[in-house]
Amino acid sequence: MLRKINMVALGRRDTLRLAGAGAVAFVTSSLLPNLALADSASAAKAIKKIIGDKATQQGRITLELPQIAENGNTVPIAFEVESPMTEADHVKAVHIFSEGNPIPNVASIRFSPASGRARAATRMRMAKTQNVIAVAEMSDGSVFMAKAEVKVTIGGCGG
């Protein structure tokens, strides 16, 4: 059984805590947690490249993904970030990442107050069952994060 490791913020303290959790998981369920760690580490690195060392908060983001994706070639994804979308208070960008794809970046979406709503929808490829992460950058510098797992029956990387 794949052991799920809950990651909220990806700051240094949390990375160290994760290493500890990984050690405990290894004792109880052998190989799989190491693979999960490798995937989430690659996504964490890609996230850090975009938002730097900023702490991330939970909330505000609704991430819409199917629980099970029949076809990994095209998985519908939508997200919305709660925001008045005014000049003074709006969502600047939302970045989407995948933990289990060859490349962790999926898309970066930049909004403006003229967007009216910080909502977008697209379709993405998923190589295998994995977590999809949305990171929202607000105009006041705060950063929010949300994560959802999608089970994939047929992988979509053109194998």
Partner: protein
């Protein structure tokens, strides 16, 4: 190269201040760079990597795409109606080739 046809769906008329949805679709293989040909050689990446929407000349929505965006990329988003005018949609691929589509919007 197959021609990439962009399609957009915007309401014909909206009330001032109304937030309306825009749907866009463009036919494109979005070759990820992960697939292999019959000889086992990797097919090089060739994707649309940028999408921009302007409303009367101002950028209202912009997106960077990576190989994980599915073939025939679909993107839906929202715009707050201000003045009547033109929406211009532009897609750019890895070679710098661009595809454009325009739509008029009437704001009451």
């Amino acid at each position: 190269m197959a021609k990439s046809k962009p399609r957009v769906k915007v309401p014909k008329s909206v009330k001032k201040g109304e937030v309306f949805q825009v749907k866009t679709l463009i036919s494109h293989k979005m070759e990820s760079g992960q697939r292999k040909n019959k000889k086992g050689k990797k097919i090089p990446r060739m994707i649309i990597n940028k999408f921009i929407c302007t409303y009367n000349g101002t950028v209202v929505f912009e997106s960077d795409w990576h190989p994980a965006i599915s073939a025939n990329p679909y993107m839906a988003f929202y715009i707050r109606a201000e003045k009547s005018g033109t929406l211009v949609f532009k897609w750019t691929d890895d070679r710098g080739q661009t595809y454009e589509k325009m739509a008029s919007i009437t704001v009451n």
